[in-house]
């Protein structure tokens, strides 16, 4: 449990740092240090906050609730040890709903400012959720189909990649692809969103915090990084072979998370941010992949191939 908490506090900002460093190396420059998101976080804690005259109470407490909700959702996901801090059979909906709670309060806070920029960001952000939730549910469903419903950490840990069984490889790769796309969308990375240009018209997540300042902003950035890390953890647990020792699990987890960060950085360096209409179509990919995996599993179970 201590290990989980420790990684939960340390890794998310490091994850963002690795993405930025990868982008810098790919561009041919030195780039900010790996701990730069941490420095930004600490700096923001020293700032004061400015609250808009148009906004009400939601704007003030939304980031606190959002971060707490994401944090509690992360408590159900294993972060480097064999089991998560909490867990019960069927806890998946609680995790999904806590993430939805975080998103909902941030969207309400964005609309609270009465700014049309933030309205646009809020409407796009929440529209993406509409397609990701069924995808996540179907992914959990396909894992449950393969071996029964379990706590969310066990579900992913149980279905490890066994290179001698082509089915487990296919399931793992496709599910990881779907989850990776969800990671990119939730973490507001290219090609769905662009955290670097800071232009209002291209933004989805960044523009939602256009009016947020000081510690509130720090909390929002941390919550976003933690959300990304939750998906990264779930994908890494696919790679952990069954029956490995605690140290081995931790090492593979760290390796998996960091390689996902590097992969996300590479994707950001190689692709532009797509048009919003194209993005809306792309966001259906996790859903179709999940359905495909489920169909393949069903047919395999029926004795098809």
């Amino acid at each position: 449990m201590i290990l989980n908490l420790f990684f939960m506090l340390v890794i998310p900002l490091l994850f963002v740092g690795i993405i930025n460093k990868t982008k810098a190396i790919w561009a041919g420059r030195k780039g900010p240090s790996l701990l730069q998101p941490l420095f930004t976080f600490l700096k923001l804690l020293h700032k004061q906050e400015i609250h808009s005259l148009s906004s009400g109470h939601i704007f003030r407490w939304a980031p606190s609730l959002a971060l707490t909700a994401v944090f509690f959702a992360a408590l159900f996901v294993p972060f480097g040890s064999r089991q998560a801090c909490f867990g019960f059979k069927g806890d998946f909906f609680l995790v999904m709903s806590l993430l939805a709670l975080a998103k909902a309060v941030l969207v309400l806070a964005a609309m609270d400012t009465g700014s049309s920029f933030e309205g646009m960001g809020a409407s796009r952000e929440i529209s993406f959720t509409a397609f990701l939730e069924p995808a996540f549910l179907l992914i959990i469903g396909s894992l449950a189909y393969a071996g029964g419903l379990e706590r969310i950490g066990q579900l992913f840990y149980r279905h490890t990649v066994n290179i001698y069984n082509e089915w487990s490889v296919i399931i793992a790769v496709m599910t990881a692809l779907a989850l990776f796309i969800m990671l990119l969308v939730e973490g507001a990375r290219v090609p769905f969103d662009d955290p670097a240009t800071h232009l209002e018209l291209t933004m989805i997540h960044e523009v939602m915090v256009l009016d947020t300042s000081g510690p509130n902003l720090a909390l929002v950035h941390y919550a976003s990084a933690l959300k990304m890390q939750i998906y990264a953890s779930l994908i890494s647990y696919f790679l952990i072979p069954e029956g490995m020792g605690t140290l081995g699990i931790t090492l593979v987890f760290l390796l998996g998370s960091f390689s996902l960060a590097v992969l996300a950085g590479l994707v950001e360096s190689l692709m532009p941010r797509f048009r919003i209409s194209r993005n809306l179509e792309l966001v259906i990919i996790p859903l179709s992949v999940a359905l495909l995996v489920l169909a393949a599993l069903i047919v395999h179970n029926m004795g098809g191939f």
Binding site: R29, T40, K43, Q48
Partner: protein, 250 residues
């Protein structure tokens, strides 16, 4: 995909290893120095100077547009050293005086800001307001974040929203139409914050100082923390100025 990889390999690694201690080309017009206190040269150059930067035995390189007329006409008296460390934390620091005792001219210096105490040295966000200039300083500020100069490695970044910023970096002479926007942007930045003036136009109005279209009334009431001269300000000057303000230059 392969085109991308080929392009990337062709790029190589283009970052300047240490922008704070870089060696710049000797012809770069940096901090002006006086070689001798020749009164006739000074009064003739004062008449030549397009922005009236030369007065008596001093040169205000906050007004200087680095045209080089004084150096070209009076090479024994005026020279522009290739010194890009030009920033100063006070307006007076930008005035080069002839010091009779030392038989040399003064140099600018920056002492670290007291407003920005701990926490900002590693992460500093700037919000650029482009106030009706020629855009050269904006381009140079943008170049400071590019592959060569890469001020991001020090944690300096330019952000879009003033709410996320720690400093307002002004470029351009501030026309009447931009006066409201400038003040609004300043008020939108949360404390602690500093004002940075970048370029001759921002510091003194530059070539447009006598124009009737300027409205610098708000600026005269503010005390800026950093003045980065130049026309346009060189990215190395900008980076060095900012790092000195944050106390990271020894």
């Amino acid at each position: 995909m392969f085109e991308l990889l080929k392009a990337r390999l062709a790029h190589g690694y283009q970052a300047i290893p240490d922008p704070l201690r870089a060696r710049i080309h000797p012809s770069f017009p940096g901090v002006p120095v006086f070689l001798r206190a020749h009164e006739a040269d000074f009064s003739a150059a004062a008449a030549l100077c397009p922005t009236q930067a030369i007065e008596g035995f001093s040169l205000d390189f906050g007004k200087c547009v680095f045209c080089g007329a004084c150096q070209r006409n009076f090479p024994e008296t005026f020279a522009f050293s290739p010194e890009f460390r030009m920033a100063s934390d006070s307006r007076n620091g930008l005035v080069v005086q002839w010091d009779p005792a030392k038989q040399a001219s003064s140099r600018p210096s920056v002492c670290p800001s007291s407003v920005l105490q701990q926490g900002f040295s590693r992460s500093f966000a700037l919000r650029n307001v482009s106030a009706a200039g020629c855009n050269a300083c904006e381009l140079e500020l943008g170049a400071a974040s590019n592959v060569n100069f890469d001020m991001g490695r020090y944690g300096l970044e330019v952000v879009a929203s003033p709410r996320h910023a720690d400093a307002l970096i002004l470029t351009g002479p501030v026309s009447a139409n931009m006066a409201f926007a400038l003040e609004e942007t300043w008020l939108a930045i949360p404390e602690p914050k500093v004002l940075i003036l970048c370029g001759a136009c921002a510091i003194s109005g530059g070539l447009f100082a006598e124009e009737g279209a300027l409205d610098r009334s708000w600026l005269t009431g503010q005390s800026a923390a950093l003045f980065i001269p130049g026309c346009p300000a060189h990215p190395l000057s900008i980076i060095h100025g900012l790092m000195s303000l944050l106390g990271r230059v020894d």
